[in-house]
């Protein structure tokens, strides 16, 4: 747990990642296709950290300040990140792809059907995808958010434990496995706060991965798997 995560395991290294939220700052080099754990630096509680980064009005500006360096729109799976209410489900899921113009439509459709069969088993794809967002339940919204994150062009997906909390244990396991597997297939990075660790471990996401941990320039703890 003490080696540095700065040497990319595979693929090209991303630009140096700088996270800044009020008093909190990290600096680390992120490699594609790896999982990173961001732990709260000493003296700052995890809840405070999450509040600063992700929650609500008072932290909106500071959280956005560190988003651009996360390379072309990272995907956040965190409270406060929502679907667009004036679009249907499929439009929401494909929005990042339609805007950034990456990927092939056929591949997107194939992936969408596969993910839907895992996340919403027994659901008829076309009727679900054409629903307005207002008619979705909480779990369905989260499924759409997860698919949008997987469909997006961002190289990094950030996951928080409280986003996963409303799901059943079985759903958490299946969803996290899908997230980890797809992130690695697509050579993207998966970032998550420290309190997500039990869920990730429960899902068996780390069994084949070797953990390392580093103190990045003395400003924060970063772990990579």
């Amino acid at each position: 747990m003490d080696s540095c995560c700065c040497s990319p395991a595979r693929g090209l290294p991303l630009p140096e990642l700088r996270l800044s939220a009020g008093l909190v700052q990290w600096q680390a080099q992120v490699a594609r296709g790896r999982c990173y754990l961001f732990a709260a630096p000493s003296g700052i509680a995890a809840t405070s950290l999450r509040q600063r980064l992700l929650d609500g009005q008072t932290t909106a500006d500071s959280s956005l300040r560190w988003l651009p360096p996360l390379a072309n729109g990272s995907a956040l799976l965190a409270p406060g990140i929502t679907l667009l209410s004036n679009l249907q489900v499929w439009e929401n899921i494909l929005l990042p792809q339609a805007y950034h113009g990456h990927g092939l439509p056929q591949e997107a459709e194939r992936n969408l059907r596969r993910w839907l069969s895992l996340l919403r088993p027994g659901e008829e794809p076309s009727s679900w995808l054409h629903r307005p967002v207002a008619r979705l339940g909480d779990t369905e919204r989260r499924a759409a958010l997860l698919m949008r994150a997987l469909m997006g062009p961002g190289l990094i997906i950030l996951l928080t434990a409280d986003w996963l909390a409303p799901l059943s244990a079985e759903q958490q396991r299946v969803w996290v496995q899908l997230l980890v597997a797809e992130s690695q297939t697509q050579h993207r990075s998966l970032l998550y706060l420290e309190d997500t660790l039990p869920v990730m471990a429960e899902a068996g996401a780390f069994t084949a991965l070797q953990w390392t941990r580093t103190q990045a320039e003395g400003m924060g703890n970063v772990a990579a798997a």
């Binding site: 609500g56 009005q57 909106a60 959280s63 956005l64 988003l67 651009p68 072309n72 729109g73 990272s74 995907a75 956040l76 406060g80 990140i81 929502t82 679907l83 667009l84 209410s85 004036n86 929005l95 990042p96 339609a98 805007y99 950034h100 113009g101 949008r148 997006g152 062009p153 961002g154």
Partner: protein, 247 residues
């Protein structure tokens, strides 16, 4: 003072939009533009036609009485009023009432619900995805709506003139209609439409985060954009008169 700032924010937004036209290369932005064209340009049509017809009827009846049944005088006066002032102004008012309030409410709701933050987190600039298509749709729809309004008003006025035993419609219209006036009024309508929707976008995006901020933003957007519309019309009139005096 705050209203003045809001109006200037709208002006700044309008002036900086040409630099963002490159975003139209993106499919997602074009889809929003098409929806906005449908909403602002097409679905406003019945309202614009009704307003135009009503204005044409009212003005023609009043002018006929005032001018003693002079049909050419009636249509000339109506033409001057419609193509130089009323057409673009009424189109702007219709756009504020219908599209402006809807745009401000929609953007304020998106801000309250965290959708604006979501877009930014996805690397989608709000100005490109939300503001550009709305303002551009207004700029494109405004001249067409203005023309429909003027045609409806002139048609209604012509019917009043004919009903009162006026001259043959075709000869009267060919005498009073002027192409430069029509083009000038369309240009003004485009400017007014872009201006008011830019102001409402600014107001919607600057709403607070509480649910109560949505109706406040919508109300302020309508008020400020209406004031901005009249202020711009007044300024244009002032400049055109000053230009004519200097010439």
């Amino acid at each position: 003072m705050q209203i003045f700032h809001n109006i200037l924010d709208g002006l700044y937004l309008l002036l900086t939009l040409p630099g963002r036209l490159g975003a139209l290369r993106r499919q997602a932005v074009r889809m929003v533009l098409l929806r906005q064209l449908l909403f602002t340009g097409w679905q406003s049509l019945p309202m614009v036609l009704m307003v135009g017809t009503a204005i044409g009827l009212i003005l023609a009846v009043q002018l006929q009485g005032f001018l003693g049944g002079n049909s050419i005088g009636t249509l000339k006066a109506l033409n001057t009023a419609l193509f130089l002032e009323l057409g673009p102004l009424l189109t702007g008012i219709v756009l504020v009432a219908r599209s402006g309030s809807a745009v401000a409410t929609e953007l304020a709701s998106m801000r309250v619900n965290g959708e604006i933050r979501t877009l930014e987190s996805l690397g989608i600039p709000v100005q490109d995805y939300l503001v550009l298509p709305r303002v551009l749709a207004a700029v494109l729809s405004g001249p067409c709506l203005c023309l429909y309004l003027q045609v409806a008003a002139l048609g209604a006025a012509a019917l009043v003139v004919l009903a009162n035993g006026g001259q043959a419609l075709g000869s009267v219209l060919s005498e009073v209609l002027s192409v430069p006036d029509v083009l000038l009024s369309m240009l003004k309508a485009a400017l007014f439409a872009g201006w008011v929707i830019a102001i409402t976008c600014t107001m919607g995006l600057s709403a607070g985060f509480a649910q109560a901020a949505v109706p406040v933003a919508a109300s302020r957007a309508v008020t400020v954009s209406m004031l901005g519309l009249f202020a711009l019309d007044g300024l244009l009139l002032l400049f055109s008169r000053a230009g004519a005096a200097l010439a």
